[in-house]
């Protein structure tokens, strides 16, 4: 929301606390690049930011078609923010299709900047517009700026050795330049980036820079925009920051975990949206001794990781829901052999193939129960892109300390969304190393540590510890195959107790807002931003509402029940049909209510506020 401050400012500069811009255009128009460039600039400038890319599922749908529209939303602010914003204040639409698919989100009075050149009859048809929205008055509730971006841009490139098709490909920089002017941003970060990226192709570099400047100049010179806007830097905690997506943070976190545990990182994976980027990232860290293995399928990927774990590596495998389903039999093996393994699930919308590029957090019950028999394992879930780093280390810590597979639940929104991340000092990171077993005199494959109930880790190559493990039930202590009835029950209880015991080794559930009161909103995963913002608003309005967000979903922190019982009502918003809800109700018999929407995208702050108001009203 844009709110005006300090009216005494010179009339043509308005200061705003927060602005949300959405760039929308054809997949071919480079909107992701435009968004990323604006993000970098805002980040480096010192704003708090939050972004939400929105790709089409198709690689390249036909140019100008509705499914071909690609969008990128960025919210930047002078105060702390948690979400990319419910609605854009400004929508940049590069063609009719982009307008059609995005205009619905623009609030009345919002600013709309369109590339009027793109509103040809052909494009209007492709976007299924009966009449031209620029002329039929359907946009009158918005502040519309029609800019002939293509023509202006092409003109600015006069004399360059390029086809006009090539020239047209630079028009996104024109739009970017215009935005830079509008929000008082320096073009330097982008021009530097262009030089670095296209240095080898001077003409392209020149063209992009000219386009950028032309857009900026257009803002300055034209009458169209009377004012431009200022968003001051945010007061973030002191430190060094970088802009980071969840998948980048996760990759860095696991590399760090490998260092902190003094073990080589082995990553077995099979590509799948939206998890693939972790593979791409990690395969670039060879100088860190990271071994990445692109397997023939998800089963081979986890199989290889289990093999590497058996060999003493910090082993990792990642996928998204459909791939996790394939891994489930092998996950059961990891539970039985009690080897450390981190299984990353970057969730996406299902069931089945579902909507591969869209967001959902509906695999919680799958990872909890998607294996034959009682097969317990710990589950953790980051709440923000930057937190993907911390929880990568935490997941590794639990896996190594408790000799168990651990599931790490991320999702498409966290994976591709970005935020400024305060880079931690290495000295602040925990030591998560664990020793290997070495003493033949005392070693028993299934003799457990009395505190953690973890079995010892004896890796091949250790003289005198030769032993055999496998998927058949194990005799307590010796680890020999056993069909003894009481032993089986005993082992089932031990496996369950080991995981349950982790509750005492994790931070308690923290509460934001009143310690007790009317309503607690309990969340997990990527809904953090929307919930926290909603609670800020509600408490701002004097409501007795608090927010608690689970990072550990199995086991729950020890104080979870007491926290929940401190409020009259408990609301659990989830981008699924009520999965944490089921676990909480079963565990504590608390009549928590769910707010469940599976729309393949993040919650809006407003809908959570609304639902909370409804409950408070009851």
């Amino acid at each position: 929301m844009t709110t005006i401050k300090e009216p005494d400012l010179s009339p043509d500069i308005q200061e705003l606390e927060r602005v949300t811009i959405r760039f929308a255009g054809d997949s071919g128009d480079g909107m992701q690049l435009t968004g990323t460039q604006f993000t970098r600039t805002a980040a480096v400038f010192g704003n708090d930011i939050s972004t939400l890319p929105d790709f089409p599922a198709e690689i390249r749908a036909p140019a100008g078609s509705l499914p071909g529209v690609s969008g990128f939303q960025i919210s930047f602010s002078s105060s702390e923010i948690h979400t990319p914003g419910d609605q854009p204040d400004v929508l940049v639409a590069m063609n009719p299709a982009a307008l059609k698919t995005n205009i619905g989100d623009l609030p009345a009075g919002g600013a709309l900047i369109v590339n009027s050149d793109a509103f040809t009859q052909g494009n209007l048809n492709k976007a299924a517009y009966a009449s031209n929205p620029l002329t039929d008055g359907s946009l009158k509730s918005f502040t519309v700026f029609e800019v002939p971006i293509s023509t202006l841009n092409e003109r600015s490139l006069d004399g360059l050795e390029m086809t006009s098709k090539q020239k047209d490909l630079t028009k996104n920089f024109f739009a970017l330049g215009l935005m830079f002017w509008l929000y008082e941003r320096s073009m330097d970060p982008t021009t530097n980036w262009i030089d670095a990226k296209f240095g080898a192709r001077p003409v392209t570099a020149e063209a992009n820079k000219r386009a950028l400047k032309a857009g900026y100049a257009f803002g300055e010179t034209t009458e169209a925009f009377h004012t431009h806007y200022r968003v001051k830097p945010a007061k973030l905690d002191p430190g060094t920051y970088r802009n980071i997506t969840g998948n980048e943070a996760a990759a860095l976190g696991f590399v760090a975990a490998s260092r902190l545990s003094q073990r080589q990182l082995f990553y077995g994976s099979y590509p799948i949206t939206p998890a693939s980027d972790i593979l791409h990232q990690l395969s670039g860290y060879k100088s860190f001794g990271v071994k990445t293995f692109q397997a023939e399928d998800e089963i081979a990927a986890i199989g290889a990781s289990i093999g590497a774990a058996y060999g003493g590596a910090l082993a990792l495998t990642a996928s998204s829901g459909p791939g996790i389903a394939l891994k489930s039999e092998a996950m059961g093996l990891a539970v039985m052999v009690e080897l450390p393994l981190v299984i990353v699930n970057v969730q996406r919308a299902g069931p089945s193939t579902g909507m591969p590029t869209k967001n959902e957090q509906a695999d919680l019950l799958q990872v909890m129960f998607g294996r034959n028999s009682d097969s317990p394992l710990p589950v953790v879930a980051p709440a923000m892109p930057g937190e993907c780093f911390d929880l990568a280390i935490e997941a590794s810590r639990l896996a190594l300390k408790y000799m168990t597979p651990v599931v790490y639940l991320s999702d498409a929104f966290l994976a591709t969304g970005s935020e400024p991340w305060r880079i931690p000092a290495l000295s602040d990171l925990p030591d998560i190393g664990v020793p290997n077993a070495t003493d033949p005199a005392t070693y028993r494959p299934y003799q457990r540590d009395p505190h953690t109930l973890a079995r010892p880790w004896a890796v091949p190559g250790t003289p005198g510890l030769e032993h055999r493990i496998g998927g058949l039930e194990k005799a307590d202590v010796t680890g020999n195959v056993s069909y003894d009835p009481d032993n089986h029950h005993h082992m089932q209880m031990l496996r369950a107790a080991k995981v349950a015991g982790i509750a005492d080794d994790i931070p308690p559930l923290e509460v934001y807002g009143p310690e007790t009161g009317e309503l607690l909103i309990l969340g997990w995963g990527s809904t953090y931003g929307a919930i926290r913002s909603a609670v800020e608003r509600l408490t701002g309005d004097g409501r007795s509402v608090a927010h608690a967000h689970l990072r550990h979903l199995n086991p729950f922190p020890a104080n979870t029940e007491s926290v929940l019982r401190s409020y009259r009502r408990v609301l659990i918003p989830e981008i699924n049909l009520g999965q944490l809800l089921l676990l909480v109700r079963a565990a504590y018999l608390i009549d928590a209510v769910g707010y469940n929407r599976a729309r393949g995208k993040p919650f809006r702050i407003a809908e959570i506020v609304e639902e909370a108001e409804r409950l408070l009203g009851e």
Binding site: G268, K286, G289, K291, G307, L426, P460, G461, H467, G470
Partner: protein, 361 residues
């Protein structure tokens, strides 16, 4: 293969030896008994698996790996129990997936000698794709497939190597599936070592396992095994002592393909087809016979041998193919080394603070 096709070509370079550990001398001194675990062996009396286990234990000392550096990984099946009986590290994994665990283990720990023990169902039915990919990657493992042409552990259903028309518990009217020829598939998967032996031919089995163990790269060894409970005598027609010389062809590198009690039969090439001839009859001399070449860059000969079977032909046993190709773990290590050589050992601090950063005071 070719550059366009990007194969790292098979070559006739000599077969590399496995790294010999310091304990080598001590190890060589070990005997079969040192590789017998404390677990009671549990196969049906008379099962061919006993012999395979015995020969495996016998050849173990020869490789120079200390016990603790040897790992046996198996899938599920009667064959899958073997690791329990080896006094080495062992992992009885899940059905069909042993090659995947072996791939990860070997990549993480190139210093280990890794054996994969599997069955015709485990390797070719549920596990077919993993075998295919571990072979084409030239993962440095020794995969030994116990082929009894039946599902033993689950009590007698058809397997991918069961004969067409075979009646089993699951195919009372006869199997309608054309069986897979394991060696043909292994060769098509670009395996760098492919061999066949028989459970009861103990010396030959030892020789074959020994060759496999010494091969660097993915080795596929088919062992014709008798399941006396659910598929007794599956191979009897040509493996029985009385007939084996006449019905089996023992392959030897660089030697003409001669077989028969009286060493008077041989294989001659007729166009693209092998034919059985008798030396001395209508002018056939040893010179006319095919000479075995296990190191041929292209596996044309091996492919042909892999499809010769009784009764049309004597059944070839021995090493069909053995070529050197960089191994999966080696190639991975090389890339890490190259990366460090290029940009130095990874610096975590640099990595975290890399990219575009800004500082807030």
């Amino acid at each position: 293969m070719t550059d366009t096709n990007g194969h790292s070509a098979g070559s006739t370079a000599p077969i590399a030896q496995p790294p010999i550990s310091p304990e080598n001398a001590a190890v060589i001194a070990l005997t079969r008994k040192d590789f017998v675990s404390d677990q009671e062996v549990r196969w049906c009396p008379g099962c061919g698996d006993y012999s395979i286990l015995a020969q495996t234990q016998k050849v173990m000392p020869d490789f120079g790996y200390p016990r603790e550096n040897i790992v046996f990984i198996s899938g599920i099946g009667c064959s899958g129990r073997l690791p329990y009986y080896m006094n080495t590290y062992g992992f009885h994994s899940i059905h069909g997936r042993a090659p995947t665990l072996a791939t990860g283990l070997k990549a993480a720990r190139p210093d280990l000698m890794v054996w994969v023990i599997t069955g015709d169902g485990d390797a070719l039915s549920i596990g077919g794709n993993h075998v295919l990919h571990s072979m084409r990657r030239n993962v440095d493992i020794n995969l030994v497939m116990f082929n009894n042409r039946i599902y033993g552990l689950t009590k007698g259903q058809a397997s991918p190597t069961s004969e067409f028309g075979k009646r089993t518990k699951s195919t009372p009217a006869g199997s309608v599936d054309t069986p897979i020829m394991p060696l043909t598939v292994a060769l098509a998967a670009e395996a760098s070592f492919v061999a066949r032996s028989v459970d009861t031919h103990t010396e030959h089995l030892q020789y074959t396992l020994e060759r496999s163990g010494r091969h660097k790269g993915s080795a596929f060894v088919e062992v014709l095994q008798n399941c006396n409970i659910f598929n007794d005598g599956a191979w009897r027609d040509f493996t029985d002592r009385e007939v084996r010389e006449d019905r089996m062809l023992v392959l030897e590198h660089d030697k003409p393909m001669i077989f028969g009690k009286d060493r008077d039969k041989g294989i001659r090439l007729n166009g693209l087809h092998p034919e059985v001839v008798t030396i001395g009859q209508n002018g056939v001399t040893e010179a006319d016979l095919l000479v075995h070449d296990e190191q041929a860059e292209e596996p044309y000969l091996a492919l042909m041998l892999s499809r010769m079977f009784w009764p049309e032909y004597p059944v070839p046993v021995g090493v069909l193919r053995a070529v050197a190709r960089p191994t999966h773990d080696q190639l991975i290590e090389d890339q890490l080394t190259a990366a460090v050589a290029k940009s130095g050992a990874g610096d975590l601090e640099k990595l975290l603070f890399g990219g575009e950063t800004w500082t807030v005071e």
